[in-house]
């Protein structure tokens, strides 16, 4: 990591940011959710927040995991299907935002499960560790944000 830090501290910020972006991109393609990637990314945010970000994983799921949950299309939802957290029918909402946990396929409103997963790593229905399943990251479809340096 020291080599990276040296690069990060060089005067031309644009250059370092571009290199950082390239490194992250490379890492992401190689090993989707590795610790190195997380550490690297954490250096983009202010120091005071880095510790929280890297340690905050202890209780709940990291935010990137919650954000990356696959969404369930509306036409795959049946009338009467409901979120077991809020007990509301998905179809009551004109634009239901439903996600599926990757390892057990249990579905919830994103709004509901995001709150739960921010404090826990278990599926509300089967109690399994939601992080135990590591899907292979399909980078071909991933949108590479143009403005990676938004935290810089």
């Amino acid at each position: 990591m020291s080599a990276y830090e040296e690069e990060h501290n060089i005067s031309n910020e644009d250059n370092s940011r571009r290199e950082l972006r390239a490194q992250i991109h490379e890492l992401y393609q190689e090993n989707g959710q590795s610790n190195t990637l997380l550490q690297l990314l954490s250096q983009l945010i202010p120091e005071s927040m880095q510790e929280e970000w890297l340690q905050g994983k202890e209780e709940g799921c990291p935010e990137y995991f919650i954000d990356s949950l696959p969404r369930v299309a509306k036409n795959k939802l049946k009338t009467g299907d409901s979120c077991s957290i809020c007990c509301c029918d998905y179809m009551d909402d004109q634009y239901p935002l439903v996600v599926e946990l990757p390892h057990c396929n249990h579905r919830f409103d994103l709004e509901c499960v995001a709150v739960w997963l921010s404090k826990s790593k278990t599926c509300p229905l089967c109690r399994d560790d939601v992080l135990s399943h590591k899907p292979s990251v399909d980078v071909s479809k991933a949108e590479i944000e143009e403005d990676w340096g938004m935290y810089g």
Partner: protein, 162 residues
């Protein structure tokens, strides 16, 4: 999210008629204006010293529900059980702890779990050491006898006969 408890209240009118929940004699908020305080009455399970008695549970729904579990206790000095603190009615049950709770469970699940605990005491995490010692020694006669003594109002317990 706070609508959840209201939805449960509505659904209960139907669910409580299910014979599978016939041991739940009552389960409702103390008043329709405040859905954060509930009361339940459960029948003692058959083939236990609790049979023939009814027990009141006091249930507090936190504002964070269902992300955090409801707080459930028996009425003070009414429940002799190795996982219940007799004086306060506090219950030791893993699903009532934040770490083991799931937001997919509801108030009825909780009451049912407490009811199951009555016929299946866990002496390894006791709140009543005397009863737990008897349970651990598998001295059923002494355990049931002591429970019956308390239930009949012995040692200033509340008599809870139905």
């Amino acid at each position: 999210m706070s609508h959840r408890i209201g939805k449960e209240y509505l659904a209960l009118q139907k669910t409580l008629r299910d014979p599978a929940y016939r041991h739940v004699l009552e389960l409702a908020p103390e008043s329709d204006q405040d859905l954060s305080r509930w009361r339940a009455r459960i029948a003692g399970p058959p083939d236990t010293p609790y049979a023939g008695h009814a027990f009141t549970l006091v249930i507090q729904i936190p504002s964070t529900y269902p992300m955090e579990p409801p707080q459930v206790r028996f009425e003070p000095r009414a429940m002799p059980h190795c996982n219940v603190d007799f004086d306060s009615g506090r219950i030791c049950l893993n699903i009532l702890e934040k770490a083991h709770w799931s937001p997919a469970w509801n108030v009825l699940h909780v009451v049912h779990a407490v009811w199951l605990l009555l016929s299946d005491p866990v002496p390894d995490s006791p709140l009543d050491v005397d009863l737990a010692c008897l349970a651990r020694a598998q001295d059923t006669a002494a355990l049931d006898g002591l429970v019956r003594y308390y239930l009949a109002g012995g040692s200033r317990g509340i008599s809870s006969s139905t």
